[in-house]
């Protein structure tokens, strides 16, 4: 099954967000995952000396997948802001959790480790980016 077909199976509800609205806020808690159906969104991160855009998400990209993959770590590591109007699909958490529980403990721990690393490296990059800009 192609990913977009699959996504429609997992998508429980749809949401629309106008340009500039905050879809996920850095520091807030939550572990639901969205997929972008239409439009784009910016991923931004706060650093001691400013705010940096670390990624731009396009249709088919996930939002909030890090918190989900790193179960037990439900603090959002970055904000996601609509860049133009955006249509999102909210994915079925229960179903994905059931999937996650089929993995071996080793693989789950590996995922958690890699997500932790992604958090740290993204933080370092945001700091370096704002420092170099100064």
């Amino acid at each position: 099954m192609a990913l977009d077909e699959l996504l429609s199976v997992y998508t429980s509800t749809e949401e629309s967000h106008p340009d500039g609205s905050v879809i996920v806020e850095e520091g807030a808690t939550g572990d639901w995952v969205y997929v972008i159906l239409e439009g784009e969104a910016r991923v931004t991160k706060k650093a001691p000396k400013g705010v940096v855009t670390v990624d731009v998400l396009k249709p088919g990209d996930f939002i909030g997948e890090m918190s989900f993959l790193e179960q037990g770590e439900d603090v959002r590591t970055a904000s996601v802001i609509a860049k133009g109007p955006v249509r999102l699909g909210l994915l079925d958490n229960q179903r994905m959790l059931a999937d996650l529980h089929t993995l071996s403990p080793e693989f789950r721990l590996l995922i958690t480790t890699l997500m932790g690393k992604l958090r740290r490296v993204t933080e370092e990059v945001s700091e370096l980016a704002t420092e170099n800009k100064q």
Binding site: L6, Y10, M96, E106, L109, T112, T113, V121, L128, N132
Partner: protein, 255 residues
């Protein structure tokens, strides 16, 4: 629910001080600490530096999951005390990855792609930072002022590193600036107060037009006499500058 594929999980024991793996080695295992503690260490010239401390439950060596073991270990890991680890073979994890439920695979792929990109960007920033540091710190004395020079006309004050008491700071005019050094025009009379010869070092301060005052150490590289009206022209190289001042200077030179 562990999948019975690939080499089985092995438990390995290390004594205090043993290397579990070494920077530069190739490997096909990812490890989890079961008991004990270990340090991630990097090599800086002939010195070992501690990059991270690991304890029970921590996983290390996971970078090979991203590069498929095609790149050598970026750092070493050394047991701090008698330590037991689980060794997971890469092939086993890759097999499980290939069989992931597609939605998880999609999410993981997006994250891993971002992780690779972030590591690359971090490498680029760190290299830039190092280059900028070298630009200011390397022996500019031996090299020429080979960096971008900005024409300016800016007052500065300077004094020898160990000034004789009672001698006031001399004033000069910076005519060009780069990250490597300044070209400074001074009054011939300044040389009455202290020596201005190649090799002499000064503490110098100047207020940049962007409002930041910087203080640097400079060394005279060349002296040009007879530039008219009783003036001298000194070519200087920066031999000392704080990180903040380097940023101020770099930022000013950029615009």
């Amino acid at each position: 629910m562990a999948k019975e594929t690939g080499p089985p999980i092995q438990n390995l024991r290390y004594k205090a001080g043993d290397l579990i793996f070494k920077e530069g080695d190739y490997g096909a295992s990812i490890y989890k600490i079961v008991k004990g503690h270990a340090n991630v260490i990097g090599q800086q010239k002939d010195r070992e530096i501690n990059l991270a401390s690991l304890g029970p439950g921590d996983v290390f060596g996971e970078m090979i999951f991203l590069n498929n073991g095609l790149e050598p270990r970026a750092s070493s890991v050394r047991a701090l005390e008698d330590t037991e680890v689980e060794s997971w073979h890469l092939a086993r994890l890759k097999k499980e990855y290939a069989e992931l439920p597609p939605i998880l695979r999609g999410m993981l792929d997006q994250s891993l792609k971002r992780l690779l990109r972030m590591i690359k960007i971090r490498g680029r920033y760190l290299a830039e930072q190092q280059a900028a540091q070298k630009e200011g710190m390397s022996e500019p004395w031996a090299s020429k002022r080979r960096f971008f020079r900005k024409e300016v006309n800016q007052e500065c004050q300077y004094l020898p590193l160990a000034p004789k008491p009672g001698i006031p700071a001399m004033t000069g005019h910076i005519k060009d600036m780069s990250m490597g050094g300044f070209g400074i025009e001074i009054d011939q009379r300044n040389t009455i107060n202290f020596s201005h010869a190649p090799g002499d070092e000064f503490n110098l301060k100047t207020l940049l037009p962007n409002g930041n005052e910087i203080r640097v150490k400079v060394k005279i590289i060349s002296i040009k006499k007879d530039v008219g009206q009783g003036k001298l022209f000194m070519g200087t190289a920066i031999t000392g500058i704080s990180l903040d001042d380097r940023k101020h200077l770099g930022f000013y030179l950029m615009y």
